[in-house]
C-alpha cells in the first residue's frame, strides 16, 4: 500500500477533518443551479393549490361563494373550513400550545389569513380560481397595538373560553395569552430601590421576518393503494412534521414519509406548521393526486411566521462606580392572532431569560406577557436561539443606557461587570448554568484590534468639528459583548409538543472504507454535508471526501428534532462524534484480532490502529472496514455500523465581541459602516471557512434588521411591507466589509467542545449596529430610539435633537 510512504502530516491533511477549511461540498450543485428544492419536485398528474387570503385584518366571514371559481377551466376543488370540519382539520394545534385556524372559521384575524384553498390542474388556473372566489366579509375594528389590546373590550379570540387558563397558565384579559416569569421580583425591586444609580428604558425590538430566499411550500402525495402519504416540504424539522401529521390526520406514522429536499434558507421561518401543508395533504387525499403548494413572496412575508415584536421595559441598577446590582425586565410580547411561537413547550418566551447577558448580575427578574393582536401569527427564532436576539439586544441597550446614566465609557462598564473566567460554570440569577467563557480576553482582543482609544479620540474630534460646522457627519462606535444560549436541549426540560429535543446520527461504513451518515437535522445552507463529514473524519479516520452525509428523509434518517436555534452541531454534532467513537471501538477489536494482539495493545493514530511500540504493525480503517464485512471474527458481529442518540447535558454558550464603526449623515439619515470587527468564540472550530461564511451571512441579516427591515402595519392592520421593494434585503452593495476573528473556549460538556455559531452574528450584530447609531448621537443627548434605523428615523432623531439648525 501507498500508505507506508505517506507521512503522518499528509495523512492528517488527507482526512480534511476538524479544523480544516474544507470547501463546501454542497456548493457545486448550488452554484450551478443543480439544487433540488421542493418546487423542483414534479410528479405525474400533480395538481396545484393556492389560497384565497383575507384582505382584512379583522372581519366576520359571512359566506364564501365558490360557484364562479368552480367554473374556471382547470379548477377541481375549493376547500373551505366547512369541508375540513368533518375531519377535525379546520383548526390545528400550534407549536406553542394554542390552536390556529387552517381556513377561516367564521372570521379572519389578520390580513393575509387563509380563507379557502383552490385546487387546480396548473398554477395559472389556480390563480384565476383564487380570484373568482367571492367572500362576504363584514369588517370589524382592528387592534395592532399590544398595549391597546390589553385594555380593549374587543375580543379577538372568540373561540377561547372566557376566564379559562391558556396553555401557560391564567389569562388576565381576553386578549392576553400568558404571563411567564423567572427570577426573584421582590429581591430585584429591593436591589433597584437601594442602589445608587438606576436607569430605566423601553427597548423595542420591532417585528421583522426571516424571509428566506426560497419561500415555504410542499408537495403532498397520498397513495391510496398502499395507504402511504409522502410529503416533500420546506421543513426545518421533518421528523416533527411526520409525527404532527400522523397525530393530526390519524394516518399511522410508518405510513407517512416526510422529505425535506434542498432548502433555500430557513432562518426559523420553516420551523412552523402552516395551513398550506394541511390543505395540501387533505387535497391530495380528496383528489387522489399529488398536490403542490408554494407561497409567493407576499404570502411569505404577510402570513408565515414573523420574528420579534417585543416591547421590553427595563430597569438596571448599579453602584456609582458601575458595578451592576440588579436587572428588571417586563416584556409585552405581540404574538399576533394565534400563539404560533416556535419555542420549546415549557418556555413560552423562549430563552429570553438569558437577558443578563455576559454580566455578573446578582439579582434579576423577567416577566413576559404574551398578547393577541390582529397581526400574522408566528414569533419564530429568526437566526437565533429562542428569543435570544431579543434578550441580547435588550441587555446591550440597557448597558449603554446605564453607561450614559453613569457618564461612563460603555466598554469599561462592560469590562467591570463581565462574568470572570474563574466563575465558570456560572449560574445566572435567572437560572442558567453558563458552561464556559473567557469574556475579558475576547473583549481586550477586540478593543485592541480596532484601536478603541484611537476611535474614541477621533469621535471626540468629530463632535468638535460638527459643532464648529466643519462636517455634517457623526461617528458612532457600536459595542456589543453577547452571550448566546444554543443547542436545545436537555430532554429533561426541552421538548416541542412533548417530543424531547435530542438528536441523532447513524453511520454505516462500507466494505471499501467509505461511509454514509444520516442525521436527524436538516441543512438549509449551513453546510452540514461538509462539516459533519469532518467530525466523522477526525473520529473514524475515513477521509471526509469519502463520507456522504444525508439528512431530511424520515424513512432513512434517524429521528431528530431538526435544525434551528444553532442546535445541529451542539446536539447532532455530538451524536455524530459519539457514533464515530462507537465505530472506532468496534474497529479496535477487529484491528487487534487482525494484528493478533490484545485489544489494549493497539492505539489509534489518525486513520489506523497501530500496535503499541511497533509502529510498522498497523491496520488502516479501510482494511478494518473490509475485514469487518468479509472475515469471520470470533465474538464480533459482521458489519461496521453505529447509531447514537444524544441528549445534551446542558446548553452551550457561544459568545463574542463585536465593534461597529459607522458614519452617519445627519441631514439625510444615511449611514455607512466604515468598519465591522467580529470576534466569535464558538468553542472548537470544525471548519473555519464555514464559520466565516456563517458570520458574514448572519451579520448581513443583522444589518438588515437593525437598519431597515421590518414588518409594519397601518392602523387598519394592512401589512405595509409585503414586497421586497419595502422589506429591506441588503444586496452586495449595502453589505459592508467584515473583519472576523476568534478566541476558542471549548464547551466542557460537548464531546468535541463545539458550541454552534450560525446565529451568533445575528444575536451580536443587531445590537452592534444599533449601538453604533445611538452612540453617534450620545454626545447630543440621545438615550434610546427605536429600530429599524432607516433614513427617516435617523433623520428624525437628528431633528429632535435639534441638529438641523
Amino acid at each position: 500500500m501507498k500508505d507506508e510512504v505517506t507521512s503522518r502530516d499528509e495523512r492528517v491533511a488527507n482526512l480534511k477533518g476538524m479544523g480544516a477549511s474544507r470547501k463546501r461540498v454542497e456548493d457545486a450543485r448550488f452554484t450551478q443551479g443543480k439544487g433540488n428544492y421542493v418546487d423542483d419536485v414534479k410528479l405525474p398528474g400533480m395538481l396545484f393549490g393556492d389560497f384565497v387570503r383575507s384582505p382584512y385584518a379583522h372581519a366576520r366571514v359571512n359566506g364564501i361563494n365558490i360557484e364562479e371559481a368552480m367554473k374556471v377551466p382547470g379548477v377541481l376543488a375549493v376547500l373551505t373550513a366547512k369541508d375540513l370540519e368533518p375531519l377535525g382539520l379546520h383548526w390545528m394545534p400550534t407549536l406553542a400550545g394554542d390552536k390556529q385556524m387552517v381556513l377561516a372559521d367564521g372570521k379572519v384575524l389578520f390580513q393575509g389569513q387563509e380563507v379557502a384553498f383552490v385546487v387546480a390542474t396548473d398554477r395559472y388556473a389556480c390563480a384565476d380560481g383564487v380570484e373568482a372566489v367571492e367572500v362576504d366579509y363584514e369588517d370589524l375594528p382592528v387592534i395592532v397595538d399590544p398595549f391597546e389590546a390589553m385594555q380593549s373590550d374587543l375580543v379577538l379570540r372568540e373561540d377561547l373560553e372566557a376566564g379559562a387558563d391558556g396553555a401557560h397558565g391564567p389569562r388576565k384579559h381576553h386578549n392576553h395569552i400568558f404571563l411567564w416569569e423567572e427570577g426573584d421580583e421582590a429581591a430585584t425591586n429591593q436591589a433597584l430601590e437601594s442602589s445608587e444609580v438606576v436607569a430605566e428604558e423601553m427597548v423595542y425590538y420591532h417585528r421583522t421576518h426571516p424571509c428566506p430566499l426560497e419561500t415555504c411550500g410542499c408537495v403532498a402525495s397520498m397513495d391510496k393503494v398502499n395507504g402511504k402519504l409522502t410529503l416533500w416540504g420546506t421543513f426545518q424539522a421533518p421528523h416533527v412534521v411526520r409525527t404532527v401529521a400522523s397525530l393530526l390526520s390519524g394516518i399511522d406514522e410508518h405510513n407517512i414519509r416526510v422529505i425535506s429536499p434542498d432548502i433555500g434558507g430557513g432562518f426559523g421561518n420553516k420551523v412552523g406548521v402552516y395551513p398550506g401543508y394541511v390543505c395540501s395533504i387533505v387535497a391530495s387525499i380528496v383528489t387522489g393526486k399529488p398536490v403542490k403548494w408554494i407561497e409567493d413572496r407576499m404570502d411569505n412575508l404577510m402570513a408565515t411566521a414573523f420574528a420579534r415584536d417585543y416591547w421590553m421595559k427595563g430597569k438596571i441598577s448599579a453602584t456609582k462606580d458601575g458595578k451592576i446590582t440588579g436587572l428588571h425586565c417586563h416584556v409585552t410580547a405581540d404574538h399576533g392572532a394565534f400563539d404560533a411561537c416556535a419555542d420549546p413547550t415549557k418556555f413560552p418566551a423562549g430563552f429570553f431569560h438569558i437577558c443578563t447577558g455576559s454580566y455578573d448580575i446578582p439579582v434579576a427578574y423577567v416577566g413576559v406577557d404574551g398578547v393577541y393582536t390582529n397581526k400574522a401569527p408566528g414569533g419564530v427564532a429568526y437566526r437565533c436561539s429562542f428569543r435570544v436576539t431579543e434578550a441580547a439586544y435588550f441587555i446591550e441597550r440597557m448597558i449603554e443606557v446605564l453607561a450614559i446614566e453613569l457618564n461612563m465609557d460603555a466598554a469599561e462598564l462592560r469590562r467591570i461587570n463581565f462574568i470572570k473566567q474563574e466563575q465558570f460554570p456560572y449560574t445566572s440569577a435567572l437560572g442558567w448554568e453558563y458552561d464556559s467563557g473567557d469574556y475579558h480576553t475576547a473583549w481586550d482582543k477586540a478593543l485592541e484590534a480596532v484601536d478603541y482609544a484611537g476611535l474614541r479620540a477621533e469621535q471626540a474630534q468629530r463632535v468638535e468639528d460638527f459643532k464648529a460646522g466643519k462636517t455634517r457627519k457623526l461617528l458612532g462606535i457600536g459595542l456589543t459583548h453577547f452571550t448566546e444560549i444554543v443547542g436545545a436541549g436537555p430532554v429533561k426540560n426541552c421538548d416541542i409538543l412533548g417530543m424531547g429535543m435530542f438528536d441523532s446520527c447513524e453511520i454505516r461504513i462500507h466494505p471499501t472504507g467509505s461511509a454514509i451518515a444520516r442525521l436527524g437535522t436538516i441543512s438549509q445552507g449551513q453546510g452540514h454535508a461538509t462539516t459533519f463529514a469532518q467530525i466523522l473524519a477526525s473520529e473514524t479516520g475515513i477521509p471526509a471526501d469519502k463520507i456522504t452525509i444525508e439528512e431530511g428523509d424520515t424513512d432513512t434518517a434517524p429521528y431528530g428534532l431538526g435544525t434551528y436555534g444553532s442546535r445541529s452541531t451542539p446536539v447532532a454534532g455530538a451524536a455524530t462524534a459519539l457514533a464515530g467513537r462507537k465505530i472506532r471501538a468496534k474497529a479496535q477489536m477487529i484491528a487487534a484480532y487482525l494484528l493478533e494482539v490484545h485489544d489494549d495493545d493497539v492505539e489509534w493514530d489518525v486513520d489506523r490502529f497501530v500496535v503499541k511500540g511497533a509502529p510498522e504493525r498497523f491496520k488502516t480503517m479501510a482494511e478494518i472496514a473490509f475485514a469487518s464485512y468479509n472475515q469471520a471474527i470470533p465474538g464480533v458481529e459482521p458489519g461496521l455500523e453505529a447509531v447514537s442518540y444524544y441528549d445534551p447535558p446542558n446548553m452551550t454558550y457561544p459568545f463574542g465581541a463585536y465593534v461597529c464603526v459607522m458614519e452617519i449623515d445627519v441631514d439625510t439619515g444615511e449611514h455607512e459602516v466604515r468598519q465591522f470587527y467580529a470576534l466569535d468564540d464558538c468553542g472548537t472550530r470544525i471548519n473555519p471557512m464555514v464559520i466565516e461564511g456563517q458570520v458574514h451571512g448572519g451579520l448581513t441579516e443583522a444589518l438588515a434588521i437593525a437598519m431597515g427591515q421590518e414588518i409594519a402595519y397601518d392602523d387598519m392592520g394592512n401589512c405595509k411591507t409585503g414586497t421586497l421593494m419595502d422589506f429591506f434585503m441588503p444586496t452586495a452593495w449595502e453589505t459592508p466589509h467584515y473583519t472576523t476573528d476568534h478566541t476558542e473556549t471549548p464547551s466542557p460538556h460537548h464531546p468535541i467542545g463545539a458550541k454552534g455559531v450560525g446565529e451568533s452574528p445575528n444575536v451580536g450584530g443587531v445590537p452592534a449596529f444599533s449601538n453604533a447609531v445611538h452612540d453617534a448621537f450620545r454626545a447630543f443627548g440621545l438615550r434610546q430610539s427605536h429600530m429599524p434605523h432607516d433614513h427617516w428615523r435617523i433623520w428624525k432623531t437628528a431633528n429632535q435633537l435639534g441638529l438641523h439648525g
Binding site: E131, D667, M725, M729, T731, W795, N799
Partner: protein, 285 residues
Amino acid sequence: MIPAAFDYHRPDTIDAAVGLLAEHGEEARVVAGGHSLIPMMKLRMAYLSHLVDLRDVQEMQGITVDGDTVTLGAMVTQHELITSDALASVAPILREASLQIADPQVRYMGTIGGNVANGDPGNDIPGLMQALDAKFVLAGPEGRRTVDARGFYEAAYMTAREDEEILTHIRFRSVAGMGYAYEKQKRKIGDYATAAAAVLVAKDGDTISEARIAMTNLSDTPIFSEGAGAALVGTSGDGAAVAAAIAAMQADIDPAEDNRGPVEFKRHVAGVMLSRAINSALSRA
C-alpha cells in the same frame, strides 16, 4: 403573482403596433422592457387581454446624434444609456442618472420609452427629460405629433399620450458644456427615489446664465421647478442663491408620506439633494 391570461402580439412596424392598439382599444397595451408593466399584471393591478411587444420594431431602436440634435428610439434600454459614449458626450447627465436606476438586471430590459411613458412619479427619467427640455414623438391612428416633456405629465400614470398612441422617439438638444448632476437618495439598490434632483447649469464667467432644475418622486408628477432655476440665474451659485433655489423648489413639490418617510423628511431631503446637485453641477460647468 400570476397574471390573468392575455394574447401576445409582436409587430415589427410602428404602424402595425398602432393598428393593434386601435383594434383592441382599452384591452391592449404595449410592452417594452416589461419591468413596470409585468409586475402590475402579476399583482393583478393591471388586466390586459392583449400585450403588444415593441421589441421587433426596428425604427424605435438606436441612439442618433446629428449635429446638436439627439434622437433616442423609445426602445433604447437603460443599459444603452449608460454605455453609449456618443450620448455621454452630448448629455452626460443621462449616464449619471441611469446608473442610479434600479439594478443592472432591470436596466438590461427596461427602456427609456417605458420609463418616460409609464407615468409613475417614481421613475427617474421623466424629470431628466424635463431638465433636458426633451420632445416626445407620439404615433397614433391620426398620425404623429410632438409633445414637450414639460407638458406631458398630468398625474400619476396620467399623461398627454392617448391610449392608442405609441411613444416612438425622444428628441432634445445637446447640453454638452453645461454643468450637470443627478443626485438621488434611495434606501437601497433597486429602490425608487426618496428624493432626487436633476440639475443642468451654464455659466457666463462666474455668473450662472442658465439653470434647469427638475425633481423626482416628490409629487404625483415630476416637478420642473422654474422658480428654482430662476433663483440661480444671475448669481454665482453662492449659499444664499442655493437657499433661494431650495425654497422655490420646496414651494413647487408636494410629497406624500410612504414607507420612505413622512412629508417633512422628504421635503428636507429634497433640499439636501438639490443643494448637492447644484454644487456638483457648478463644479462641472
